[in-house]
Structures are given as C-alpha cells and as structure tokens.
Symmetry: C2
Subunit: 299 residues, 2 copies
Amino acid sequence: MKRILIAASAGFCFGVKRAISIANETAGKAAASGASAPDAIPIRSLGPLIHNPQAVEELEKKGVHVVESVDDIPCGKVIVRSHGITRRDAEELAGKNVQIIDATCPFVKKAQEYARSLSREGYAVTVVGDANHPEVKSIISYIETGVPVITSLSDLKEASGIRKVGIVAQTTQSFENLREFVSVALKRIPEVRVYNTICNATVLRQKESMAVARVADVMIVLGGYNSANTRRLAEICRELNPKVLHIETASELSPDTLLGVSCLGVTAGASTPEWIIEELVASIRAIWREENIQVSYFQ
Amino acid sequence: MKRILIAASAGFCFGVKRAISIANETAGKAAASGASAPDAIPIRSLGPLIHNPQAVEELEKKGVHVVESVDDIPCGKVIVRSHGITRRDAEELAGKNVQIIDATCPFVKKAQEYARSLSREGYAVTVVGDANHPEVKSIISYIETGVPVITSLSDLKEASGIRKVGIVAQTTQSFENLREFVSVALKRIPEVRVYNTICNATVLRQKESMAVARVADVMIVLGGYNSANTRRLAEICRELNPKVLHIETASELSPDTLLGVSCLGVTAGASTPEWIIEELVASIRAIWREENIQVSYFQ
C-alpha cells in the first residue's frame, strides 16, 4: 500500500482566504452590474493579491488586474493585497479618485501598528523578516523617522548606543529566527520589547510539515516561487529530509520522483489554493496507478 | 613551575564596594564622635549588609550590628543592605524615628523600579532569580497588586491568558537563564518586554571564571555559602571542570586538594573581600613551598 501524507494546515491561511474572498466579492459585484461592458469600473490589485501565480491568474480572468505602481491606477477600484502596501502608497492612493478596498491581512496590520507605536515611543525597531518582501516593506514604512531600523541579524550584532529596541516579525517567519534575533538583542541592548507577530497558522503549518517531512520518503512543498513562506517551509523540511521538492503545480512533477517511494509527504504555503493540492493528489494517483492508496492528513 | 590563575573580576562588585564604603563611613563618623560610649547612637544593618560572613564580622567589630527585623530597630541609624529590602520594610522604617542610610545597589534599585513601572502598565511581571533571595523579594515587593507575578520557569510554562509580560532579572543571574525565560515567554505570550537587569560585573565575572575553569586542574570558588552569585559561579564552573571547590576562606583548604595540580584556578563572588583572595593565595604558596609560582590574572 502506498501513502500520501498531507500536513492538515497546508494551504490558504485566514488572511489569504479573506483577501481572495474580498477580491471575488468585488469582482462578483462588478459582474452583476455588467462589468464586462467597456465603460465598467476597472478593478486593480496593487501588486499580486497573494503570492501564487495560479490563483492570481484565476482572479485576472474574473477582472482583477495586477498593476505594479500607484501611477498605473488613475481611477476605479483598487484592492490592497494581503501583504499590505507602504504607507506612502496608501497615502498616494488616498489622494486619488479611486475606491480603496483593503484586503491587508489583519495580522500584518497589527505588525504595522506595533512598528509605528514602538518608533513613536523612541524604540529602535527591528523587523525580523526578508527586507525585500512587500510585507516587511509595508511594516517598515510605518516606522516613524528618527529611530534606527534594523532588519538583519548582522546589523543587530553591530548595533551600538541603542538603549531600547522593539522587535516585530514578518507574520510568516519561523519562531527560531525570531528567538535568535531576541537573544542577540538581549545581549547588547538593555531593554528589549518583543511583539510576537508570527501568525499561529504559520507556526502550526511549519510544525505539521516538519512532522510529515520526518516520516516521508519524498516531501513535496507546493506554492509560488515568489512565496517567502513556501520557500521557508521547503527550507525547514530540507533540514529533516534530503528529498524535498518545491514546485508550483502538479505539472512540474516528474514520475521519476516517485520511484521507490511508499510514503509521499505533501505540504503547501499559505497562498496555495486547495485545487492545486487536489490536482497534485490526482496526478500522484495517476502515476502510481494503484487501487490501494491511502491519503491521510497529519495534524 | 606551578600556576595560580585568578579571574580578574573576582570579588567585590561596584554595589558591594559602595555598600561597604557607606557602612565604613557611617561607622567612622560614629567612632569620631565617640560612639564607643554607652549613649552612642546605635548603627544597625537590616539583614547582613552583603552576603559574606567574614566581611560582616569585620563590620560588626566596627559597630555595625546585623538585625533581622524592622522591629529590632527602635532608634538610631539603619543601613539598608546592598540587596535592598522590601517596600513594606522601607515604609515601616520611614515611619520610625530612625535615620535611614540606603546602601542598596543602584542596579537593584533599577530592577525594583522596572518591576513597579511594568506592573503599573498592566504587565504580568516575571522576576528571573531565586524567589527566596532578599534581592528578589525586594524586587517583587515593588510590583503593584493586580498583575500576575511569576518567578519560576514552570509557572511561566503554565501561564495562560496573559497578553503581555515584563521580565526583569536578579542582577547576579546568568544570561542563559534569562534567555531561557524569555524564550519560554515568547512562545506563550504575544508581548514580551525585557529589561536585562543582569549586572555587567556579573556577566564579566562569569565569563572570566568559565575561561579559567576550562584550563585549571582544580578550580576554587571563594565566597559566602549564603551568596547566591557565588553558588552560581560554582555551578557554572562545574559544567566545565569536574574539580570545583566552593569554600568561604583559605582555612577550609586541605593540602590534599592541591596534589598533582599544576594550574589552580581561582574566582570569587561579588561579596568576597580582596583579603580573602589574598589569604588563599598565601595559603597555596605555603602548601606548594615552591619558589617558582606564577600568579596571573585572566581577563
């Protein structure tokens, strides 16, 4: 008997589900009012709504067009993506004749607010995360000027003359990474104030994925190549299992990968739609061509 | 050639030096004004001024008498010991016709103040330290009622429903211990605010002692058996060297201990007077009876 073991919390998190639902609702309303007509109000998302090209493509079909800059939004409706946008972009949008529909994840919003209030209280602010990620950029943009901003462990190690530091994390960071930043800060800075803004869904998904990676012969991590949390899942699994494959969809799966495998592990990032996981399971069934395949969820 | 290697920061820390100097000054003033007369103003310390019986005995000879309770102080001068006293004792003293001379270590005072301000801002307060130590008791006494108070790792692990916690440490705690409390708190509590109140002298003494313990054949830790920081030094050294001896004075040293030893390590707690270290070195010289003994300080 062959086995497919899926991390139960693989796929869409609360913030992504909410953003998709907001986008679908906006597109649905437009369709109901005859949005396919040439004079329909355009719907745009500033940057991809979530970090999954396949899901973004589906939304595109429904009329939600991705643009990269505020300058590309002269009018109509704009959906603010789940990772949030910078304060400057938000202010520019507010100054335009556009309708803003905010799909920023509420947990990201919290991290933005903590970063802002810490800086207002004179704390140096450390954001634990990928400095190039839109979420981290949006969090950083809320830090008031006048306090040091630190985004790397090496900068934190070299920080000097700082009496108090506030730490927040990208919502999809690993707890170990946050803990390392906190430990380094504790050694050098007398007051360390931490808001653990890591999302519980992320922690749970990472835990379950690690448990699956430990027992699987091969581990498949599904999710956008541009999805930091998916890449981190793959990283974490690789520490426990040498055979980890990060792919976006089942079409990238080569049958060779499954040779000699009796237990296949599956997990997926926070922005991976359910149908991508289902498609993978169907592909595996087709490759294995066995009657007796057990699909179970680990939680 | 035999070698005695002494941790350079062994012995009296700033707070202890300051307390001893305040006590000596107070006793000196009394002597200058004829304090040996029966009607002289009595000088008392509430609890031992520092945790070293030999140093306290020296002060006793100078007229500084240790009492255990505020009730034992009807009049005269009272010296508040380096570890601080509880807020209740301080208030009771203030209500009496006594002159209060405060020799509380300024770093302990800071920890008291942080504990108080954290509780006023609604934080649960965690004090990392020995709950029975007078310093920790004094810190805890400044926590305003109405917030949870946590002093053990097991209580922190079981804490529930706490949204924000403030952490301070007994000034002589090890950094690793503080870090462990912070890590546990981070896992369970969304906001963790840490004031690292561990004294630099403690950190330095521990580091130097560890380095000496690593190379010494036998390691001697000098200090009061009632001194928590000395006991902790012995603990830390034992993790690196199986032959660690915690003694109060050279008189406890058996010549057998030095058999086959070519490098003897020495360190001493924050409340160990310099003359106790010097006496030990003299005793070792007497036992070894060698011309060629190198005494060096590690820093």
